[in-house]
């Protein structure tokens, strides 16, 4: 028996024949690691606080019996649906999602996505994951899956918090859609879940963008700041009328289309445009991230 051979199998792990399932160990580890971080929990706590603030504010403002926001005077202020909250707590879910989608939710996603690769590079843990060997494509897919899981969890945290606050502070019951038809509370609950899923899906684009930026640098902070900076820039550009021709390609352009799910019948046009656009961003920046990460020298 050669010396090289004696080196291989000892008491543990005889010639390892790996099960294909073992490859998901990294995803599990990634999910556990991400959701156990204080930073992630703090982001989720901030997101959970938004519906509480909105709910309490509406409650205080309407405690004299008036209705909130634009509902009465027809003014432009306040997120969508805010006028209906006093009639039905379920509307707080829609209001909270409309309030967090333009900034809080994508910012949180930008932080997690931007840190995904760059944070590991910054800490030096990236080289040990790669020599483990995690495999570059596998690691990137795992990271993206985890960021997407965070998109979903973050959105559900907002929705759940809003539902709880709405149920405590306001009456629940049948509700009126934007089109004026009445739907049952159960139907309304189903639609809010669907809306939460659409909102989570709206974040796919920025998640891919953040992951791509994350592969460009060894500084987690820089990647996070760049992603959030891009988010703000795009949100501003989306308001400039002269850029009309470009705006349909901004990842945030169709975000608020989720409100169309509250029409009866549902108006699908912008919803499908939004989902298509998110898929396009995921494909373009996902490929870019892959091309960059698999070819890159890991010097950190």
């Amino acid at each position: 028996m050669s010396r090289a051979e004696t080196a291989v199998p000892r008491e543990l792990g005889e010639l390892r024949t790996p099960s294909p399932l073992w490859t998901f160990g990294l995803l599990r580890s990634e999910l556990v690691t991400t959701f156990r971080r204080w930073r992630t929990l703090a982001l989720l706590a901030v997101l959970a606080a938004v519906p509480i603030l909105v709910g309490v504010a509406v409650k205080i403002e309407t405690s004299d019996g008036s209705s909130a926001g634009p509902g009465r005077g027809g003014g432009g202020g306040g997120p969508a649906f805010i006028a209906q909250i006093t009639n039905n707590g379920l509307f707080l879910v829609f209001t909270a999602l409309a309030a967090t989608l333009p900034f809080f939710l994508p910012m949180a996603v930008g932080v997690v996505a931007g840190d995904a690769i760059a944070g590991e590079a910054n800490a030096g843990t990236l080289r040990y994951l790669l020599v483990a060997p995690a495999g570059r494509t596998r690691l990137l897919l795992t990271k993206y899956a985890t960021v997407l899981a965070f998109c979903l969890v973050a959105t559900l945290v907002v929705a759940a918090s809003a539902l709880a606050v709405g149920a405590v502070l306001f009456p629940l019951g049948d509700l009126t859609t934007i089109s004026g038809t009445r739907i049952s509370f159960a139907d309304g609950l189903g639609r809010s879940l669907l809306i939460a899923l659409v909102v989570a899906a709206s974040l796919i684009g920025i998640a891919a963008l953040g992951l791509f930026i994350s592969t460009l640098t060894n500084s987690g902070i820089a990647a996070m700041a760049t992603t959030v900076g891009l988010l703000i820039t795009v949100q501003i550009l989306d308001q400039i009328p002269q850029l009309h021709a470009l705006q349909p390609y901004f990842f945030s352009h169709y975000w608020l289309s989720f409100a169309d799910l509250m029409r009866d019948p549902v108006y699908w046009d912008d919803l499908t445009k939004n989902l298509g656009l998110q898929a396009l961003y995921a494909a373009v920046f996902g490929s870019a991230a892959w091309a960059r990460f698999t070819a890159r020298d890991i010097t950190a």
Partner: protein, 324 residues
């Protein structure tokens, strides 16, 4: 990396090399030539010392061997397979400590190891906890396993990094400056651990800038300077480049020199009460007896072994601790 998955690289035949590079070169984008035409051969079963001052290209070489950096030109084979193409097949058999440990500060020592183990798709999750515990035990970190890694001292981090390299039985261990940050007791423990692993048949590739460390544990060594390989071979052969000298301490230096020449010693040098010479090819006890018989009063008699440092100085004409 796109090569289909094969858990076991081709077995190296006895006497085969575990690491073999041919004209391995890395030029960074800035134009800096970090590694220049490296031909390195690490025999199976050796404890291989990889020596060189900081900035001599050791770490870049190690990163190329581990598939982290793509060579500009040349080839590198690890366990008989080309790198970085066969990373997925090769790396599960390689434990590595590269440029110091890197840990998740917010995770405990144990959870750090569990995470690194989970990153290896060939690691059996059913034995994960047992293997992690065994690795912690082996580096003496069991008592601190539950502590957050950010609370670890540098030495403890170093040990945890080593434990990560020992999560599986490995055919090759690549240890970059493994005793950095350790106290003398810790250094001794790491050295005895390296010897123990080597006696199990694991090939150990050990980079260091500490010559005595290499001398104490390594069977083979290579010396790098400014991106080029200066020499490589068995440590005994390298040291033989600057052979040991016979040293006689005596008040009768003149007589001693004469007797030594008669006994066949060459290059006899007399300095006050010290006579040094290249030892003759005969039993040194007889040489000593001849001195005493000739009436030379011998105070000291012995061979000063040539150190690797002597060899290094002879090779490069410079001291070893050259700043990078």
């Amino acid at each position: 990396m796109d090569e289909s998955f094969a858990p076991e690289p081709d077995r190296a035949a006895p006497g085969d090399s575990v690491i073999a590079t041919h004209a391995l070169t890395k030029r960074y984008r800035g134009g800096q030539l970090a590694v220049d035409g490296l031909d390195l051969t690490v025999p199976a079963g050796s404890v291989f010392g990889f020596l060189g001052p900081n900035g001599s290209g050791k770490t870049t070489t190690i990163r190329m061997l581990m598939g982290l950096i793509e060579p500009t030109s040349g080839t590198a084979r690890v366990l008989g397979r080309p790198m970085p193409r066969s990373s997925r097949a090769v790396l599960p058999h390689v434990g590595a400590l590269i440029e110091g440990p890197a840990l998740y500060g917010f995770l405990s020592g144990r959870d750090n190891l569990i995470r690194y183990d989970a990153a290896d798709p060939t690691a059996d999750p059913r034995t994960r906890r047992a293997r992690v515990a065994a690795a912690l035990e082996r580096v003496g970190l069991m008592a601190a396993a539950g502590k957050k890694a950010k609370a670890y001292s540098l030495g403890m981090k170093q040990r945890l990094g080593l434990a990560a390299a020992l999560l599986q039985p490995r055919r090759l261990l690549v240890l970059d400056e493994p005793t950095n940050g350790l106290d003398p007791q810790g250094m001794r423990e790491i050295r005895s651990l390296v010897r123990e692993l080597a006696s199990d048949g694991t090939t150990v590739f050990l980079s260091s800038h500490l010559l005595d460390e290499i001398e104490q544990v390594c069977t083979h060594a290579a010396v790098m300077a400014q991106g080029r390989l200066i020499t490589q071979g068995a440590v005994s052969d390298l040291a033989a480049g600057a052979r040991g000298r016979l040293v006689v301490t005596t008040p009768d230096a003149g007589d001693a020199a004469r007797v030594l020449k008669e006994q066949g010693a060459a290059d006899v040098v007399v300095t006050e009460d010290r006579v040094t010479a290249e030892p003759p090819d005969r039993d040194l006890a007889e040489v000593n007896a001849a001195l005493v018989t000739a009436g030379v009063r011998v105070r000291g008699f012995g061979v000063e072994r040539a150190s690797l440092e002597d060899a290094f100085v002879a090779l490069t004409g410079e001291g070893f601790d050259v700043a990078g």
